[in-house]
Every structure is written in structure tokens, then in C-alpha cells.
């Protein structure tokens, strides 16, 4: 867990540096080596690490738009994920997906930028496991803001009535972009939404990785033993803006400070020390993690960009003839000529 958490934190620190390159002095989202939106998860590592340590490669995880810490904890290939974020040809998705749409079937990982829309596919993975009599499980991660979405409720219900091996994990970081939790829900404890579906709901009130791990162990074990779905909510903290470039003018200073003061990584380190782990051991885990991250970033930056024509590939797994020809579908000239000929009978 500690390793996953320090890897995720350092990974995002490095990504942030790379992201800001070329965007200065005035922040321009489309400039620099990593354009587009970038949602960082600093402060949320405990939820991912505590849950995913109980998962196997054949278990499925769906993550939302803030996916890196979950991806790292689930064992997504760090180099290829980084190459994807840099939009490179050897990235997980050949440069087509980007940071919000990472797919690593080998690690059982996918994510989506549409709020709560990772829930139904997780139910589908649970359904597949159940139909095939396998003991793999599926976990859907989502934010506390996402639990107002219809797709979430429908997924809970379907998983419940079919008793599917699915665990829904809410990362409650108190904010949905600029909307504080209390303005969008009358119930502070999101895990209570499980009640309406007669499934277990648990809330871990702090980003204590050990406590998360214990709660997750139970929920995942329950799913694996074919005892049905559950809902787990973890209080985490959003140390950054919603996305890079978010001025956070809506957010009280005190709240930002409180988020920065709580550090689940330091908390876990203290706990490990208390349990007799040497400082040196922790330090060497950190160093190894940093090395792996730096290596992944250097590797990714060295990778080639896709060629423009690659854009026409992959629309279909089984392309109908004529769809992914060498020629772009809108190749200028030929179509117009055809148009003229057919219209030229006057």
C-alpha cells in the first residue's frame, strides 16, 4: 500500500511539472507536451491503495476521470500509461484515449470521463464472472459528486437484484468541481445509499489506508464469496484544484489548508514505523518508487508520436470494407468530383 501511495503521489507531482511545461506564462490548456484536462488525485491515494491491494489481475476496476492513483494501485503498466498521457504511439491506447480514458485489459483496468458511467460496465464485469462461475470481482470507483447520477443508482440496483460480485467505492473528497457536498446532497454519509438496495454500506471516515484496507477486505471478500455487492465510502482529500488550471476561487482557504494538512501517506508511514518498520525501509521504498516513475516518464517522452493517419484506425475491431482505407474518408477532391458528375446532366 505504502509503495502504491508514494508512487502515485510522486507520479502526479512529476506529471504536474510536465503538464505545466509550455503552458506558461499565461496558462493555455492546449499548449505543452500534455494538453487537454488533467485531473490529479493527490490526497486520495489511500482509497485506491487500500482497496486494490485485495484485487487480483483478473479482477476488474473501473475508474472515473481522476484515475492515476487507482491505475497504479491496480498494477497498470506505468510506462505505457505515461506514454498514453503524453499522447504517444506506444501508449496504452495508442494515443487515442489520453488521461481520462486509459484501458489496460491485462491489468483489468478501464476509466471514463463521463460521471458515474464506470458503474454499469463494472456491473457487467461482475455479471460475466457470475455467468462463468468465476470468482473474480469488479470494483467501480467514483466520486461523491457522482453518486447523484442515475447510472450509479441503476447499477446498484442491478448488482443487488442479481447478487453480482461488485464493490462500489466512493472517494469522498468533499467537492465536485466547485460544488461542496452539502449543497448537492442532504445525506453526508454516501454509504447510506446502500440501504435502499438492501446491500451493506460502510463508510471509512478518514483516509487511513489501514482502515480502508480492512473495510475493503470485507467487501471484496463478500463479493468473491458470491454474497453480493456492497458499497464503500472513503473520506479522502482533494489537495489540488479540480483540474490543472482550476483557480479554486470558490474554495475557502481553510478548506484547502485542511486538505493539505492531512496526509494519508505520512499517516501510513507513522503507522508502519509504529509497527516496527525501519525508516530506511520506508525511504528505500520511496526511492525505488521515484526511480520507477522517473524512468517511466523519461521512457514515455522518448516514444514516437502517432502519425496523423493513425486517427482512422481502430474505429471498429472488424472494420467494414472501405472504412479504414489508407485514404482518409473525407479525402478532398474525389467526392466532389463524383458529386459534379452526378449533378452534371443538365
Amino acid at each position: 500500500m505504502f509503495e502504491d501511495m508514494v508512487t502515485a503521489r510522486y507520479y502526479e507531482e512529476r506529471l504536474q511539472e510536465e503538464y505545466l511545461e509550455g503552458k506558461q506564462p499565461a496558462f493555455d490548456i492546449s499548449a505543452g507536451p500534455i494538453p487537454g484536462e488533467l485531473h490529479l488525485a493527490a490526497g486520495q491515494e489511500a482509497a485506491a491503495a487500500g482497496v486494490c491491494r485485495h484485487l487480483r489481475d483478473d479482477d476488474t476496476v473501473t475508474a472515473p476521470h481522476r484515475p492515476h492513483h487507482v491505475a497504479i494501485a491496480k498494477g497498470v503498466d506505468l510506462k505505457r500509461m505515461t506514454a498514453e498521457i503524453f499522447g504517444r504511439e506506444t501508449g496504452l491506447c495508442g494515443g487515442k484515449g489520453g488521461h481520462m480514458h486509459l484501458f489496460d485489459p491485462d491489468a483489468g483496468f478501464a476509466c471514463s470521463g463521463i460521471i458515474a458511467e464506470g458503474c454499469p460496465p463494472a456491473v457487467g464485469a461482475g455479471l460475466a464472472a457470475s455467468k462463468r462461475n468465476e470468482d473474480s470481482v469488479a470494483v467501480a470507483f467514483l466520486g461523491e459528486g457522482a453518486i447523484s447520477q442515475g447510472g450509479f443508482f441503476e447499477s446498484l440496483n442491478l448488482a443487488a437484484v442479481r447478487e453480482l460480485p461488485v464493490v462500489f467505492v466512493i472517494e469522498d473528497n468533499d467537492w465536485a468541481i466547485s460544488m461542496p457536498k452539502e449543497r448537492v446532497s442532504d445525506v453526508a454519509d454516501g454509504s447510506r445509499r446502500a440501504e435502499g438496495f438492501d446491500m451493506p454500506g460502510t463508510r471509512v471516515d478518514s483516509d487511513d489506508a489501514v482502515a480502508v484496507s480492512e473495510a475493503a477486505k470485507e467487501a471484496i471478500g463478500r463479493a468473491r464469496d458470491r454474497n453480493g455487492p456492497s458499497l464503500l465510502e472513503v473520506q479522502v482529500h482533494r489537495r489540488m484544484g479540480h483540474f490543472m488550471g482550476d483557480p479554486q476561487t470558490y474554495r475557502p482557504e481553510a478548506d484547502q489548508e485542511a486538505a493539505a494538512d492531512r496526509d494519508s501517506i505520512e499517516r501510513l508511514a507513522a503507522e508502519l514505523r509504529r509497527r516496527g518498520v525501519e525508516d530506511e525501509t520506508l525511504e528505500s521504498i520511496r526511492e525505488d518508487a521515484h526511480e520507477r516513475v522517473d524512468e517511466a516518464i523519461e521512457w514515455a517522452k522518448d516514444q514516437p508520436e502517432p502519425s496523423p493517419e493513425d486517427a482512422y484506425e481502430d474505429v471498429f475491431a472488424n472494420p467494414p470494407s472501405g472504412v479504414t482505407d489508407e485514404e482518409p474518408a473525407y479525402d478532398l477532391g474525389t467526392d466532389a468530383r463524383a458529386g459534379v458528375e452526378s449533378g452534371g446532366d443538365d
Binding site: 493555455d28 499522447g87 487515442k96 489520453g98 468541481i177 502517432p306 496523423p308 458529386g339
Partner: protein, 361 residues
């Protein structure tokens, strides 16, 4: 300046030139939209705005910037991430006679709430035999050009314009944005108001030259179904909308150096569609290039060409369309640049459409 219908005379020859009226201030497109909304909210208590991050944040694309201060949280309402609920609620409030504006943050998110949009908002007037009307505005951001990939970069003009029952508005300048917004709020039908992120004038997404224009302080409306000739020309008609008005104007400036005189028509609304302006222009130029940022098939480009062909086939000497080639928007820059038409693609299409003429002769 305070005309009720300040039709822009197509005298303005080049992009970004001042309009014929004398106005002292230039506004970004977002400021112009917000000014119209604020005006209508002052005039009519029944107008309110609902959406995600529209109050304290001021809209991710500045679509409501500053409105909270004047109107408070009751009329500039942040809502839970529940598009089905709040867009459907806007339909319900509109049927009660209020005039809600509901914002779908990115048009790409329509999937989670399309039923409320096309089965209720768009159809209730008709299904009820017009005993019910739905005077609401659905605002939404469209467009790519900043590498946000397939779930956040679509334009989807065709999807919305295809489904009957909603008027569809796509401004390209601040001047148009304001006049069209006044009209949208006052209209008794549901209006989908699609603004291109790249045109809004937000700090973190620099706009091209052009969308920032002089804007009268007073309220004015631009009637729906009135396309605007943004540049007059004799040789070829380029029909477009949104961001691609500016790309077409850029192409036209480049083509002018080569002695090709392109006329650039900005549709401004897709429903109703001003085919008359397009047909007249094609009668003059004989060549038609349609450009948009939506997928190529079953979209605006095919629609415009078909509507001209139906009526004025004899005028058409050459036709081209330039659009996104039926692939989801890729993330990586070289691929995104490939699929979103640039000024050079427009220029190439214009050259090609003219060469077909000599080829045919």
C-alpha cells in the same frame, strides 16, 4: 445601435472588421452571452439558470461568469450531477410557464440525459397538440482543438438538429451570441444554444481573432433562420458555423492572395435553417464548400448540400464537404489536428472545388 434587428450588412469584407454600426466596446463571446442572460433575468422574474458549477464557479467556460453576484443562488442554481433530473426539471418548469435556462456542461454528456431532451423537451409541444409549450434554453459547450479526447470534444450539431422540435443556435461572434441569446430566452420553444469553447474568450483557451466584436449595450435580437454573410465573394460559397467561421475566414484571406474570392456564410442557426441565403450565394458563385466540426456522415454538410441540390442543382458546378471524418475525436495532437478541419483544409477544398469546374469543362 439599439435596433431590434440589427442585421449585419454583408459589407464587412474581412474577418474581425468592425461592424457597420459604431460601437465603442468589444466583448468576448462569453461576456456577450452573459449580458443577454442578465438583461432577460432583470426583465423577467421567471428566467433562471441551472447547471453544474454555474454559480460559484461562473461556468467552466465562463457561460455564467458574474451572474451569481447579481442574482444569487436562487436564480443561478448549482445542481447535483444529475442531468436527467435537472434538465427534465427545466422542462417541467418551462411547461409551468417559467423560462429556465439549463446548462449541459459539455455537449458530450447528452448521453446521460438525452431522454429528457429529445423525448420531452423536444416533443411535448407536438405530442400535446400544442396545448403545452416548453420555453426553455439548453446551453451547452461544443468543440475540440485542445486534446481533451473523445468524450469531451464533440460538436454534435447534427445530433441535435436532426431531432425535430428544438431550435438549434450556434453563434460565432460576440455580437451574434448576444442577439441570439436574447432571442433564445424570449422564444416560446425549446432552444439548444451551442457555444464553442474555443470562441468564448476564456483565459486558458485562447480564442482566434474574430469572435471578440463590438457589442451594443442595449438588448437586440437576431432572428433565428437568418444566416449571415461574414465575407462577400464571387467565386465560391463556403457555408459554415461556430469556430469554423473563423477558420473559413482565415482560409478566405489566404485564397484572396491567390485571386480566389470566397464568400463565407455563417449559418448562425441550424433550426430553422436559412437555405435561401445559401442558395442565392450558390447561384452567384456556382461552387459550394460546406465546413463543420461535426462528424461527416448524416450531418450539417450533407444537409446543406442536399437542400441546395434539391432546388438548385443546375447552379452547382462543384461541391465539397469538410468535416470530421467519422472517427471519435482522438486525444493525441497529430491525430486531433488531422481530423478537425483547419483553415488549410478549407482552402484545399475551395481549390479542389474550383478545379473540378475546369476539369468538367
Amino acid at each position: 445601435m439599439a435596433e431590434s434587428e440589427p442585421e449585419q450588412e454583408p459589407e464587412a469584407e474581412t474577418a474581425g472588421d468592425a461592424e457597420p454600426q459604431v460601437v465603442e466596446r468589444d466583448l468576448t463571446m462569453s461576456r456577450a452571452m452573459v449580458e443577454a442572460i442578465a438583461h432577460e433575468m432583470r426583465e423577467d422574474e421567471e428566467v433562471f439558470y441551472m447547471g453544474e458549477d454555474v454559480a460559484d464557479y461562473g461556468g467552466i467556460f465562463d457561460s455564467t461568469e458574474g451572474l451569481l453576484e447579481e442574482f444569487g443562488h436562487d436564480r443561478i442554481m448549482d445542481v447535483p450531477i444529475s442531468e436527467t433530473a435537472y434538465i427534465g426539471a427545466a422542462v417541467g418548469a418551462a411547461q409551468e410557464g417559467m423560462r429556465p435556462i439549463a446548462e449541459l456542461m459539455f455537449v458530450d454528456f447528452f448521453g446521460v440525459c438525452m431522454d429528457q431532451i429529445y423525448n420531452q423537451m423536444a416533443k411535448n409541444t407536438y405530442m400535446s397538440g400544442a396545448s403545452v409549450s416548453v420555453p426553455m434554453v439548453l446551453t451547452t459547450a461544443v468543440g475540440g482543438t485542445y486534446n481533451d479526447a473523445a468524450q469531451h470534444s464533440q460538436t454534435l450539431y447534427g445530433t441535435f438538429a436532426h431531432l425535430p422540435g428544438m431550435k438549434v443556435v450556434v453563434p460565432s461572434t460576440a455580437y451574434d451570441a448576444k442577439g441570439l441569446m436574447h432571442n433564445a430566452i424570449r422564444d416560446d420553444d425549446p432552444v439548444v444554444y451551442m457555444f464553442h469553447k474555443r470562441l468564448m474568450g476564456i483565459g486558458w483557451m485562447p480564442a482566434p481573432d474574430g469572435p471578440k466584436t463590438p457589442v451594443p449595450e442595449e438588448a437586440y435580437t437576431i432572428p433565428f433562420g437568418s444566416a449571415d454573410v461574414k465575407r462577400e465573394g464571387e467565386d465560391v460559397t463556403v457555408v459554415t458555423l461556430g469556430l469554423h467561421v473563423h477558420r473559413a475566414l482565415e482560409a478566405a484571406a489566404e485564397l484572396a492572395d491567390d485571386g480566389i474570392d470566397a464568400e463565407v456564410i455563417d449559418l448562425r442557426t441550424l433550426v430553422p435553417l436559412d437555405t435561401e441565403t445559401v442558395r442565392e450565394s450558390v447561384a452567384k458563385t456556382g461552387h459550394l464548400v460546406v465546413v463543420d466540426e461535426d462528424y461527416r456522415s448524416y450531418g450539417v454538410t450533407g444537409e446543406i448540400i442536399a437542400s441546395v441540390a434539391e432546388d438548385r442543382l443546375a447552379d452547382l458546378e462543384g461541391v465539397e464537404r469538410v468535416a470530421v471524418p467519422d472517427v471519435p475525436l482522438p486525444y493525441s495532437r497529430p491525430m486531433e489536428n488531422e481530423v478537425i478541419p483547419g483553415a488549410e483544409d478549407v482552402a484545399a477544398a475551395v481549390r479542389s472545388v474550383r478545379s473540378t469546374e475546369s476539369g468538367a469543362e
